[in-house]
Every structure is written in C-alpha cells, then in structure tokens.
C-alpha cells in the first residue's frame, strides 16, 4: 500500500539538464548572433561597456532573487532607484558629500522598510503592494525633482568613476554582491531559512524560523540595494532625474526568472541567476548595438519576459500539469 508521491524527481533526467542549461545555451547563441551581425560586439572594449550596463541589474538581481526565494516580491525596484537618486543628489548638493551618500542609502532603506512592513507585518499581497509603492515612489521623485534633472557634484563623479584594473569599482562591488549572495544562500543557514520560508511557510514557522522577520529583512536589503544602484546609475549617466531606473525593474525580473526562480518561492540557485543576468545584459546591449529602436527593444524585452516565465514554470515542472 505504498503511496509514492507522484511527480518526477527534480534535478535528474535529460529534460531537466536541458532546461537548466537552456539559458546558458541561449546566452551563447545571442553572443554569436550579435557578434556575427556586428564584429565590434565581440571586442574587449564592448565587453567592458556591457559590463558597465549590466552592473545595476546585477547588483539588484541577487538580493531580489533571495527575496523571491523566500516567496515575496518587490516590483517597486526602479522607482526606488529614481527616488534615491533624486533625493540623494539634492541632499548632496545642499548638505555635502557624506550627507548625500547617507541620503541615497537612507531613502533606499526607508523604501525597503516600508515594503517590508506592509508585506510582512500587515501580511498584504506583495505584488499589489509593491505596485502601489512604486507609484508612490515615482510620484515622490517627480515632485522632489520638479521634473528637472539634478547634477551631481564633481567629487561624486570622481569617486564613483574611479577605475581599478580597468574596471570601475562598481563591477567589483557587483562581484562582491554575487559572492555574498552565494555564500548566504548556499553556505549559510540563513539561506536554508529562506528556502524553508519560501517552500513551506507554516512548516518553517513551526520549526522556529521567524518567517516574518526574515522577509522584512530581505525587503530592507532590497531597498538598500536600490539606494546603491541609485548611486551607480547617477554615476553612469552623470545626472539624476525622477525617471531614473525606469528600465530596471523588468530586466531584473527577467534575469531572476531566467535564473530558474519563480514566484512560488523555495527554489533557485545563484549560479543560474548569474547566467540570467548576463543573458539579459548582453541582450539589451546587443540590441542597442544593432541600433534597434527603443520601441522594438521594449517589444523584445516583453516577449522575453513571457518566455522566461514559461521556462521558469517548465523547470519547476508546473507547465502542462493537470
């Protein structure tokens, strides 16, 4: 009278192997594709500029991936970046460099705190809530900036455009974030708690995991990451505006989905997310190089998102289930 739980064993089998590496294959494919279309693509200088474009997505993707694993989401990403940039630069221009940096980070942190509180303690649906906070943050940044662009002080640009070994500091920072996330998720018990909270909240709670606090912490970290990305974005573009970060939310979500993490929580690896980040980063860069209009880009990004959802669902064995 053995009742085996029906359903395949994940992680084995040809099909799973194929899916796991599908994104990697896709990555190789688009690199080849773009290089053929434009030989400049496959050059060192281009790689550097791609990396530069990639960093904001990269830095954001990892904390958000951890958040998703614990079964929550933050869709206000881009707006937080915009808000922190606007407030940060205004503060910097008014009160000095250090204060400005604090402002950047503080705004991100506050945003994360707000989201975390609403989602964890008031137990509201994270999707809708963060859509709501996104609107609020966007509105706030428009108001603070008054529609104008802010100019960062010289010192700011000097520091954040510093290069080490030919790469800007931010690249190393992203590397650090990657390594830290990997360590947290795969080598630390905190990561195990995240998986537990995402997969079976009740079981985790009964086992003593403070699920609410955990999610709250994750939201706050994501917010903080937003502040940091704000700094980097301003350094990259050279000015702050209320609409900064607008094109950030979707690529981050895509990167994570391509990394095999989906909205159900409880599964995913950092290494896959890395591949996902590179995929979307290179895709966007490639489209730019090809001279594709931003509108066609939008179409492609949207389509890729839908495809990413499909692959992510496939990998979790959810697709086509009865």
């Amino acid at each position: 009278m053995n009742q085996e739980k029906s359903g395949r064993i994940p992680g084995t089998g040809i099909w799973e192997l194929f899916l796991d590496n599908l994104v990697l294959l896709g990555l190789i494919f688009i690199i080849i594709f773009f290089s053929l279309k434009n030989p400049f693509f496959f050059s060192y200088s281009n790689a550097r500029s791609i990396l530069r474009q990639l960093v904001p997505i990269g830095i954001y993707s990892f904390p958000v991936a951890l958040l998703l694993i614990s079964n929550s989401i933050d869709l206000s990403l881009g707006a937080v970046v915009g808000l922190s940039a606007v407030v940060g630069i205004e503060a910097m221009n008014a009160f000095g460099f250090a204060f400005g940096i604090f402002a950047f980070l503080g705004v991100g942190l506050a945003a994360g705190l707000l989201n975390g509180m609403l989602v964890s303690y008031f137990r509201l649906n994270p999707v809708i809530i963060t859509l709501g906070t996104q609107i609020i943050f966007r509105g706030l940044s428009l108001s603070v900036s008054g529609g104008r662009s802010g100019v960062p002080p010289e010192l700011f640009l000097k520091i954040f455009r510093l290069e080490l070994l030919g790469f800007r500091l931010e690249v190393f920072f992203m590397l650090g974030v990657m390594i830290l996330s990997y360590w947290v998720l795969h080598r630390n018990r905190l990561g195990r708690y995240l998986y537990a909270a995402g997969e079976n909240e009740r079981a985790a709670f009964l086992m003593g995991v403070k699920v609410q606090n955990l999610r709250f912490l994750m939201h706050t970290l994501v917010g903080l990451a937003g502040g940091i990305v704000g700094i980097i974005s301003v350094a990259k573009v050279g000015l702050s505006s209320g609409s900064l970060g607008q094109n950030l939310t979707l690529p981050v979500i895509i990167a994570i989905l391509l990394g095999g993490i989906d909205f159900g929580g409880g599964a995913g690896k950092i290494t896959s997310v890395i591949v996902g980040v590179f995929f979307i980063g290179i895709l966007e860069a490639g489209l730019l190089i090809l001279g594709v209009t931003e509108f066609l880009q939008q179409v492609i990004v949207g389509a890729v998102l839908i495809l990413a959802v499909c692959t992510s669902a496939l990998r979790r064995g959810r697709l086509l289930k009865r």
Partner: protein
C-alpha cells in the same frame, strides 16, 4: 472584543454597544465607499461649488468611461482569480491598429480590426494563464511592455489617425453632440456595466467565475471547465481593453502610442477599492461602479483644486494600498467569524 467596562451592570450595556459597533462596522465596510464618495462630494462642493455644474459632471462621466470599460471586465477577471496588468498597453496597441487600418480601409473596418486584435491578445493571455498555468502577474507584465513597445514601434511615437474618424462620429466623441441630452459615453458606460453585471450576477458564467476564483479545486471537481472559464475571462478583459482603445480614438480623433499609460493600474485600484478581493471569488460589481465614480471624482476634483501632479500620482498608490488593507482586514474578520465548527 475587549470589554473595558466593569462587570455586572456594565456588562449588558457593553454587549449592546459592541453589537451596535459591529453593525456599524459592517455597514461601513459594505457601503463605506459610497459613504466616502458622498462625503467627499459634499466637501468639494463646499470648497468649490463649480463642481456641481452640469458641464463638470458631464466631463466626469466622459472621463470615466475609458477606465470603466476596462475596470468592469478586469473585476470579472479578478473574481476568477486571475489578473491582467497589460490592459492599458493593449488598449493603446489596439487603438493604433484601429487608426492605421481605418486610414486605409475606413472607420468600421478599422474598429473591427482593432477590437479583434485586443480580443486576440486577451485570448493569448487566457491560454498562457489558463491552459499553460503561467503566473498571471509576470506574464501580463511582459505583455505590458510588449504591447506598449509595439504601439510605439508601429507609429514611431507619433500621433496618428487624424481624419480617420468620420466627422459626425467625432462630434459624439468630443462631446459636441449628445444623444438624448447625455453624452454617448454615458450609454457606453451603462451598457458595459450592465453587461458585466449581468454576466457576473445573473448569468451562469458568473457563478462559475466565483467558483473558480474562490476554490478552484472544488470548481474542478463539480465539473466546471476551469481553464475555459479563465480563458473567457481573459478574453473579455481583452475586449474591454479594445473598447478602451476605441474610446481613446473616438474621443479625440487621434491616437498616440503612450495613450492609456497606467490605465491598468488605475483600473486595478478601482477594482480593489470596489471590494473585489485579489484572492478571487469575492466581490460585487456595484462596488466597482461606486469605486469608479469615487476615483474619477477624486481625480477631477484634485485637478480642480489645483493639487500638484505628483500628489495626484501618489494618491493612486496610496489608494491601492488602502484597498488591499481593507481587503485583508475583511478577509481576516470573515475567517474569524464564519469558520464555525
């Protein structure tokens, strides 16, 4: 309920008070929005009496039709337990298609094509969410970007469609001409409300919507084709978006790729404020109607009161959060009360 009064003599009174309090709370939660709307109207009327002029009210009705045509089908969809975050982009895209086709083949064919495209997109979403069981939020987020991009791409971000709408129709659209003293928009709003209301509360499809949204497994077990229900709901939402596209076109005689930006979020706010639970399986259409007027009135009066743009923006965000708050509060109260042994 904590009883703060002292015992014996106080006990009877406090029991009565808590009972009244519960009844009051009940009334507020079910009709709260209506109460808020009335209070708000009174408030604004006092501050700026010009709002009670017919031209203002007529303007409000005309403005709210765009969103109404999307909000009611969206409510239907949310009741079924799904959602569509791409409706604004679909509306825009379908309007563009309408305009482009109309310029070549004439207005009727243009409208037909545009509406068909919107229905087709709704159908596609229905397949992705209903049959492939993809997560509706992310999938339609993709659609949001995709169709917006497509709309801008097809027009190169220029306004198009001038001259495509026949003059006499445009007159109705702009509000120059009225039908029985009311703008055509009013009739469109009424018809879309009635259709959605009938579908949800009088038609057997509505019973199935609630069943699928409320308890999908149970619906499956009583023989309801849950996939088909979701597919239909998404298709209806798509049609609503197409209709909104038509409204945008017909209202001004021209369309731009950025029209309807944020439409879906405004519609979602209305749906949630109207008492439709995001979980699915709960809520009534008439709540959505009240919420619609509330939001539109709010927007209009904020403009009238010269509130800065960003505050108006933020108001939407705050409202969504408030709506969710209320929804979760109600669900928790119902769970405490209703789950008797």
């Amino acid at each position: 309920m904590k009883v703060k009064n002292s015992k014996s003599a106080g006990q009877v009174n406090s029991a009565f008070l808590t009972k009244t309090r519960t009844k009051l709370l009940d009334f507020i939660t079910t009709n709260g929005l209506l109460v808020a709307l009335i209070l708000f109207v009174i408030f604004v009327a006092v501050v700026k009496p010009s709002i009670l002029k017919w031209s203002s009210l007529e303007g409000i009705i005309r403005q709210s039709t765009d969103i109404a045509v999307v909000a009611f089908p969206l409510a239907l969809l949310v009741i079924a337990g799904s959602v569509d975050l791409s409706l604004g982009s679909v509306a825009s895209f379908s309007a563009i298609v309408m305009a482009k086709t109309a310029l070549v083949y004439g207005f009727p064919i243009g409208v037909f094509t545009g509406l068909s495209v919107a229905v087709g997109i709704g159908l596609l979403n229905g397949i992705l969410v209903g049959y492939l069981k993809l997560h509706p939020v992310v999938t339609t987020l993709g659609g949001l970007t995709l169709w917006r991009g497509a709309a801008l791409l097809l027009t190169n971000a220029k306004t198009i469609g001038m001259g495509a709408v026949p003059g006499w129709i445009l007159d109705y659209g702009i509000g120059l001409n009225t039908l029985l003293f009311l703008p055509v928009h009013f009739y469109i709003l009424t018809v879309s409300y009635l259709v959605c209301w009938t579908l949800t509360h009088k038609h057997r499809f509505g019973e199935r919507l609630y069943a699928v949204g409320g308890q999908e497994k149970a619906a499956f077990l009583v023989g309801i084709n849950t996939k088909m229900v979701k597919l239909l709901a998404h298709t209806i939402a798509g049609f609503g978006a197409g209709l909104a596209g038509f409204m945008m076109f017909f209202r001004s005689g021209a369309v731009h790729g950025t029209d309807g930006d944020g439409l879906e979020f405004r519609a979602l706010t209305i749906v949630l404020l109207g008492g439709i639970s995001f979980q699915g399986g709960k809520g009534k259409m008439k709540g959505v109607l009240v919420a619609l007027f509330f939001i539109t009135f709010l927007r209009y009066s904020l403009v009238l009161l010269r509130t800065p743009l960003y505050l108006q923006h933020m108001a939407s965000g705050v409202l969504i959060i408030l709506a969710l708050f209320m929804d979760s509060l109600l669900t928790q109260r119902a769970e405490k009360r209703g789950s008797g042994s």
